[in-house]
Structures are given as C-alpha cells and as structure tokens.
C-alpha cells in the first residue's frame, strides 16, 4: 500500500473505513490534514468567525470519520462531497450556537485576536500594514471598503464615484499587489 499522502481522496477514505492495521491512525490524520483547512475556509466564509469555524472543523471531521468507520459513507470516491454536505448541515447548527456564544462574549469578554494565515504560514501583520500603505489611495480605499466595511462594488461606486466595473478591476489588481508584496519577504517594504 502506498504512503497515505499519495493516496487519492477515495482510497484515503477507504483506508479510514477499513481501519487497516498500521494505517488507520495515519489515514485519519491525513484525512484531517487534507480536509480540515477546507472546512475551516467554508466556516470562515459562511460564519465569518474564527471560533465558529474552528468548532465546525472539529464537528465535521469527527462525524466524517465516524461515518466512514461505520460504513455510512456509501461512495468513498465522493468523500469531498460528503465533507461539503456535512459542513453545510453543521454550519447551520454552529451558526445558532455561535449566535448564543457571541451574546455571552459581548457581555463578558473582549474578542480574541484571530490568527490569520497566509499559505499555511502566519500572516505578518506589520508587513501587510506596510504593503497596504504602498497602495495608491484609491486602491487602498477600495480594498478597505471591500474587506473591512463589506461594501459591494455598487456601494463602493456610490461612495467613491468610480464605476462598478472599475471597482472590480481596482479591487482585483490591488489584491494582487498586496499578495505579491506580502509574499516578497526578502524585499523590504
């Protein structure tokens, strides 16, 4: 049997389901390594909360492994679809739990600083700050209105007097520049 990292998603799911001697734990670890980041992104996109996304990862991956072990996943080759479907179902529950938790947090605790990663590595906020300052004012504003103020291109158009199409172009290019700047570690800001 090839190392678990070389297995296709389907073969990996079968390895978890079969719990072959010596491979069960490794296969589960690899399944987690492969899918947990995708579930986390799904959670962040839909729940916009690091804690809620982390909860979602734990719940989805636990259920996925349980269902593989008890034979409930009928087609192991469709494991990605199974994980996505489970994420959708559980995100609804997490959303309800998170709503209750956020009410408690607002009352008793300051929000924790989220851990932002870039390509698997922690994002250097100082560098991002410097890179943001290097953008043209128009581009910087579009980026901040988009990500922080969560404005649509239409709303940014009204705010800045730039056409909607232009907003999309500016946004796309500004993000490319930011990404390139953040990744060029050897070059000072």
């Amino acid at each position: 049997m090839p190392p678990v990292v070389d297995l296709s998603d389907g073969d990996l799911a079968r390895a978890v389901a079969a719990r072959e001697p010596g491979s069960g734990g490794l296969a589960e670890g690899e399944l987690y390594r492969r899918f947990a980041p995708r579930v986390r992104l799904y959670g962040l996109r839909h729940l916009r909360d690091e804690d809620a996304a982390a909860d979602l990862v734990q719940q989805v991956m636990l259920l996925t492994i349980e269902k593989l072990r008890d034979g409930s996943v009928r087609d192991a080759d469709q494991i990605a679809s199974f994980v996505l479907g489970t994420s959708r179902m559980m995100a609804r529950d997490v959303r309800r739990q998170e709503w209750r938790r956020s009410k408690l947090r607002e009352t008793y605790m300051p929000p924790p600083a989220p851990e932002t990663r870039h390509g698997g590595e922690l994002l250097d906020l100082d560098r991002l700050d410097a890179c943001l300052a290097r953008l043209a004012e128009r581009d910087r504003l579009v980026v901040l209105l988009t990500f922080y103020a969560e404005r649509t291109p239409r709303e940014v158009q009204q705010e800045l007097g730039v056409t909607e199409g232009n907003v999309r172009v500016i946004r796309h290019r500004a993000l490319q520049r930011l990404r390139a700047c953040v990744m060029s570690r050897e070059e000072g800001p």
Binding site: S8, R138, R140, L141, L145, E159, R168
Partner: protein, 190 residues
C-alpha cells in the same frame, strides 16, 4: 498536492469569498474547493489577506484617507473617533484624549466638477509630512477625511499642521487650506 485540471480564477475565488456569487455559483465553487486542495490553498491566501486587513483595523492601525462609509463602519464597530471638521480657511485647535482610537480631520470644500484630489500635510518649517495623491471624491457636497491612529497622534509634539487640498489633474486648483493647531497629548487629560 494533486494538480488542479480546472483551476478557479483568482477573481472567482475573490467574489466567492466576498459572498458576491449566486447560490448556484456558490454551490459549484464549493464542490470544486472541497475536491481541490490547490484552489482551496489559493482561497486561503485571499481569505487571510482579508482577515489580516480587518485585524489591522481592529488593532487601530488604520491610517490615511477614509471615506464616510469607512468612518461609519468604524463607529458602528465601537471605535472611538475624535473628529475635527474644517472648512476652507479654518484653524482648529485639536488634540487626542485617553480612550480615543482614531483622530480624524474632516475637510469640507467645493468639489464641483472634481473627481479626485491631492492632500498635502505640511509641518511648521514648510517641510511636507505626508502627501496623498489622486484621492477619489464622490460629489460636490463631499467631504474628505484624513484619519490617524490615536496611538500615533499621542507621539506628536504641539505643532501647527497645514493641510492643502488641490484638485488632481493638470490645473491643480487649490480647493482649501486648513490648519490643525495640535496640542501634545496630556495623559492626565480627559
């Protein structure tokens, strides 16, 4: 990591992350992302930039020109903004107090026919401290807001800052001159 045979474009990943996709598009993109580690990793890079930007603001590190919508969002999120409103020719005494998160100067002018402007910030010795080029303005009745983190302003000595707003483009007409008469931060104030 398996190579992707039909990678999603950066723009598609961005609009997905910003929740600008239709339900059908969202379903298709998610089906792809869960089956494709490469595109999921690319989405993570976009997402982390967005979250990093939010974290910068959350840490009070927003600096530069801000729009009214950005200003509203900051206030909605509970940031304490000390806002000084200036009309052309105004000299306004200003300072920063304990508890302030940002200090902002709201510059009013007649922006009729002007699409973008430049702002120059000059020190008492006439040296230029900051220059902002090609700042978009949205209407004749608009305002332009220059914001600084309060933590930065607390380091400033007492001084008079001259702000000059000019229209961008060839004519470079002066739209307004303003003076911020800044008093150094007094920790006992407030």
């Amino acid at each position: 990591m398996q190579p992707c045979d039909a990678p999603l474009s950066d723009e598609m990943l961005l609009v997905y992350w910003l929740r600008e996709t239709s339900t059908d598009e969202t379903d298709q993109i998610e089906a792809h992302l869960f089956a494709c580690a490469e595109c999921a990793a690319r989405l993570e890079r976009t997402a982390s930039l967005g979250m990093g930007l939010n974290e910068l603001v959350r840490q009070g590190r927003l600096s530069g020109m801000v729009s009214p919508a950005l200003l509203n969002r900051l206030q909605r999120d509970g940031f304490h903004l000390r806002l000084y409103a200036l009309s052309p020719g105004d000299t306004v005494p200003c300072t920063v107090f304990p508890g302030d998160d940002f200090v902002a100067a709201s510059l009013h002018a007649d922006f009729s026919g002007v699409r973008s402007v430049s702002l120059s910030v000059t020190a008492p010795d006439d040296s230029t401290l900051r220059e902002f080029e090609d700042v978009p303005v949205s209407g004749a009745e608009g305002e332009l807001v220059w914001a600084l983190p309060a933590a930065v302003v607390r380091q400033f000595p007492s001084m008079r800052l001259r702000l000059t707003l000019t229209s961008a483009g060839q004519d470079r007409a002066v739209l307004g001159e303003y003076v911020l008469d800044h008093s150094a931060f007094d920790p006992a104030s407030g």
